[in-house]
């Protein structure tokens, strides 16, 4: 019925990837890598949590060479649990800015995702907008839409706020958001933005690439992005990234893939496929993405999001953010 997937021949050059990044966003790149180097890439996709549990359980016998996932919190956690190996690579250091990779070299960001404010161009004047914290102001009462606090993107955003503002102030902010909600939190960014467009609320916080997808489908949609906190910390950014596993059977091939993914040729597509920002500063974003304008991004090391994630989750629970 099927090949036995576990066993493998050591002879053929290959890399085995456990990926929480979705197949349609990585397969084209893997195909290109194979065409260029002759190294075969095998992968299995799942959520970060189960993949991490599997890596830990397999220990020294894991077939996986690389863990690829979204959100710095997940990457931080993987490094923390000791499943990733530290890598010395001048190429990666040159291609990935320091705040978007692990200080100890156990994982590297591969694309940048900005979580920012989206607003109705009909009902909101940009003068009204300023910062994430500003959305807690009573003037937004009944005008704010949010995605659920269970999504790691919101957990990272709040974690970074805690780093910046302290727990007490952050809790006030989150409580303010909850008080301003027009309707209960949505299960995804797209639905959240559609609610803004339909007039259920006026502003929301979303990842930019979801906005890009919506814009592609409906170029006339009456929504726009706003870059908050430009006078202080900058826009909250997160990464998707990867690291090489501690017990990788093919560490050289895996390093080659990781380095290759940070090069301009691959970066263009890695970010472009999902309308994210390339992590490599030498690479221009997709024209549609570039059209949203430049912004100042938060440059605290993204691993902070991982460190503070559990506290952020508890804070949001206390604030009644579902």
């Amino acid at each position: 019925m099927a090949p036995s997937g576990g066993a493998m021949a050591a002879a053929a050059e290959e890399v085995v990837v456990y990926s929480a990044r979705k197949e349609h966003l990585i397969k084209p790149l893997f195909d290109a890598f194979t065409a260029e180097t002759g190294i075969n890439v095998r992968y299995v996709t799942d959520k970060a949590g189960p993949l991490l549990a599997r890596l830990q359980a397999e220990g020294a016998n894991t077939p996986a060479d690389m863990l690829m996932t979204v959100d710095a919190g997940n990457l931080w956690q993987a490094a923390e649990q000791g499943v990733l190996a530290a890598v010395e690579s001048e190429t990666l250091k040159a291609n990935v800015p320091a705040h978007l990779r692990d200080p100890e070299g156990r994982w590297f960001g591969l694309s940048v995702r900005a979580r920012t404010i989206v607003y109705s161009t009909e009902r909101v004047d940009t003068e009204e907008l300023s910062t994430y914290e500003g959305l807690a102001d009573p003037k937004w009462q009944g005008r704010l839409c949010l995605r659920t606090s269970k999504k790691v993107y919101n957990q990272s955003l709040v974690a970074m706020m805690m780093e910046r503002l302290g727990a007490e102030r952050t809790q006030e902010v989150v409580e303010g958001w909850v008080a301003n909600l027009a309707t209960q939190p949505f299960s995804n960014d797209t639905k959240t933005m559609e609610a803004v467009a339909a007039g259920q609320c006026d502003v929301a916080i979303v990842n930019t690439y979801y906005f890009g997808r919506l814009q592609k489908k409906d170029p006339d949609i009456e929504l726009a992005l706003f870059w908050p906190n430009q006078d202080d910390s900058g826009v909250h950014v997160n990464v998707s990234g990867a690291g090489i596993t501690r017990h990788a059977p093919h560490p050289e091939a895996a390093l080659r893939l990781l380095e290759w993914l940070s090069t301009p040729a691959a970066q263009d597509r890695f970010a472009g496929l999902n309308m994210e920002y390339p992590v490599n500063p030498a690479v221009e974003p997709d024209p549609l993405v570039a059209a949203w304008g430049d912004f100042k991004a938060d440059n605290i090391n993204v691993s902070k999001a991982g460190e503070l994630q559990a506290e952020a989750v508890m804070l949001m629970d206390r604030a009644g953010y579902r």
Binding site: M1, A2, P3, S4, G5, G6, A7, M8, A10, V16, K22, E23, H24, R42, Y43, V44, T45, D46, K47, A48, G49, P50, L51, A53, R54, A57, E58, G59, A60, N61, P63, Q77, T148, K150, V152, Q155, T183, Q184, P185, F186, S187, N188, D189, T190, K191, E194, A195, A197, A198, G199, Q200, Y210, R213, Q309, A310, V313, M314, D317, R318, R322
Partner: protein, 562 residues
């Protein structure tokens, strides 16, 4: 994989055995041993989950207890109560209508009402929200007609919304099981009731319903276990249940141990409920009184007949026609971009996995059912309860439990293997089809057990006894008495398992071989980023694939001798 039965069912009877005492012991206790073996297979991953208690996680518990736990428990209870009421009214009511009444369209609804089973709950959830939420076409049209504040519309993302959606996808469990129970009752009990002067309604409540109770309870407990374990549907609604707490502990607080503790509490509650139900049922047995033909249907007249058609039609439309139409519309938009030859591979993987898992799991259920009938005592009853617990656990948690067992064995094999050479350490279990099938057995044994067990409950013990007294050999009794009588139950079980396996996500994702994707995996790829429209193509393919086994069952029940 599965222990093969040591002998056909009749073989348990002490038949003048004069062999060694070990052999005699094995023969005497073959059924207790069989059910213990099966319970052991299921219990291993559960034990892994219970082992979470070895590490205290006070901080997480204190946090949950002081913030969200109370709401989560209340939400869970409300959801269970609502879904129970919904599936009972829809499932039993419709089964009664189609199996014992005659009304316009009855022949069509007979089988059509099973179709919603093919729609995954999370898919119906998303379609419902897409259609009925503030941004959906219905409310948008109303706004255009009456202005923003000019109309009232219920909030779909609410307790009522999530209950409705789950009741609509889960009622087929109750419908199918109680329908076959009603049909199997034959005409005589109802004839007797009516000859004693009971009207159709009282005959239903006093005779048909109590007789169908094992089947109804089996269907209801499947629906409720699925409700408890559900994560996808409630996540789409952002409705927080106990499962939410489990995932919060795991993915939000990065605490798999605390998640395991929460999950094992859930299991404990389910085990208590199952045991309680069995105790309450006590020694009552509901056997088919005679095989005398199909019941004469009550011919509904006039307004009542049309009311019956309308009710069946409404449920069918809301639970099947509407979501399928929406999926088709979405799929149409993307079919040119996304439909590639790999779809045939996905379809084949999905169907062959479903079919193999159905065979394996139903064999397991048959062993368990015979063990329950012939094996006596609390050990057996306990083993049956344990063996059917897997279904009540949130999929990802169970999947991790199973994976830990497999990797544990793999790591052991690897340490042995390395003695023989450097390549001996490759995993042989994790990531193989065998591992997947075993995982499905653990997860879906309860699904296969329900219908098989309620079919067995309706076989009078006197029937095989009579066969034996006429000199039939055990194998012959199995082949010619049990098998034909169990067949409807077995077929229902296979269908339910096959469809459930095809929809299953967490275990498939975690344990599948490299590159061995299924339609559910493709749906996951699209939906986890909120791209529901792009998930429509694999979803509609999955529904179509799910219709295949349903059709088999329909044909089979149409050819059923009267």
């Amino acid at each position: 994989m599965e222990p093969i039965p040591a002998g056909p069912p009749g073989a348990v009877l002490p038949a003048g055995d004069h062999h060694g005492s070990l052999r005699r012991f094995l023969r005497r206790n073959v059924w207790a041993l069989t059910s213990l073996a099966l319970a052991f297979v299921v219990a291993l991953p559960l034990l892994v989950i219970f082992s979470g208690w070895l590490h205290a996680q006070n901080e997480v518990w204190q946090h949950l207890a002081s913030t969200v736990l109370r709401d989560l428990v209340v939400n869970t209870l409300v959801l269970m109560a609502g879904v129970a009421a919904g599936v009972l009214v829809l499932g039993v009511g419709l089964a009664w209508l189609t199996s014992l009444c005659e009304f316009p369209g009855r022949r069509f609804f007979d089988w059509a009402l099973m179709l919603p089973l093919a729609i995954p709950a999370y898919v119906l959830a998303f379609v419902a929200i897409a259609l009925l939420d503030f941004t959906g076409p219905v409310q948008t049209a109303l706004r255009e007609a009456f202005g923003a504040g000019g109309f009232w519309f219920p909030d779909i993302r609410s307790t009522g919304g999530v209950i409705t959606v789950m009741a609509l996808v889960l009622y087929p469990y109750v419908y199918m099981l109680s329908r076959s129970a009603f049909l199997a009752q034959g005409r005589s009990p109802l004839d007797a009731a009516r000859s004693l002067g009971l009207g159709p309604w009282r005959a239903f409540f006093r005779v048909a319903l109590p007789m169908a109770r094992p089947a109804i309870i089996a269907g209801l407990s499947l629906a409720l276990m699925e409700t408890l374990a559900d994560f996808g549907t409630v996540a789409v609604f952002n409705y927080d249940t106990f499962t939410t707490a489990i995932y919060k502990a795991w993915f939000g607080l990065f605490n798999l141990q605390a998640a395991s503790q929460l999950a094992s509490l859930l299991l404990l509650v389910v085990a208590l409920a199952l045991t309680g139900e069995r105790l309450m049922r006590g020694r009552a047995r509901f056997h088919e009184l005679s095989g005398a033909g199909r019941p004469v249907r009550f011919r509904l007249k006039g307004g009542r007949a049309w009311l019956a058609s309308a009710a069946a039609g409404l449920v069918f439309t809301v639970a099947f026609v509407a979501p399928v139409s929406q999926l088709l519309l979405w799929a149409w938009d993307i079919v040119r971009d996304d439909l590639d030859p790999r779809y045939w591979q996905l379809l084949w993987n999905t169907l062959s996995l479903g079919a193999s898992a159905a065979v394996v799991t139903v064999c397991g259920a048959l062993l368990l059912v015979f063990a329950k009938r012939f094996g006596k005592g609390p050990v057996n009853a306990g083993a049956v309860t344990v063996a059917t617990l897997g279904y009540a656990l949130p999929g990802s948690v169970l999947a991790v439990g199973i994976m830990l067992v497999f990797t544990g064995m793999d790591n052991f094999l690897a340490s042995v293997g390395r003695i023989f050479g450097p390549d001996g350490g490759a995993p042989v279990l994790t990531g193989t089809i065998a591992a997947l099938l075993l995982a499905y057995l653990v997860r879906f044994l309860a699904v296969a057990f329900g219908p098989t067990d309620s079919a067995m409950e309706q076989i009078r013990p006197s029937l095989p006894e009579a066969a034996r007294s006429l000199g039939a050999r055990p194998a012959q009794i199995f082949r010619e008495v049990y098998l034909p009588l169990l067949r409807p139950g077995i077929l229902t079980a296979m269908l339910l398992v096959m469809v459930d396996v095809m929809k299953e996500m967490p275990a498939t994702l975690l344990l599948r071989p490299f590159g061995w994707d299924t339609l559910a995996v493709r749906i996951y790829e699209m939906t986890s980023e909120g791209e529901w429209e792009r998930a429509a193509l694999p979803a509609i393919t999955l529904v179509a694939a799910g219709l295949l086994p349903v059709m088999v069952l329909v044909w089979r029940s149409a050819r059923r001798p009267s």
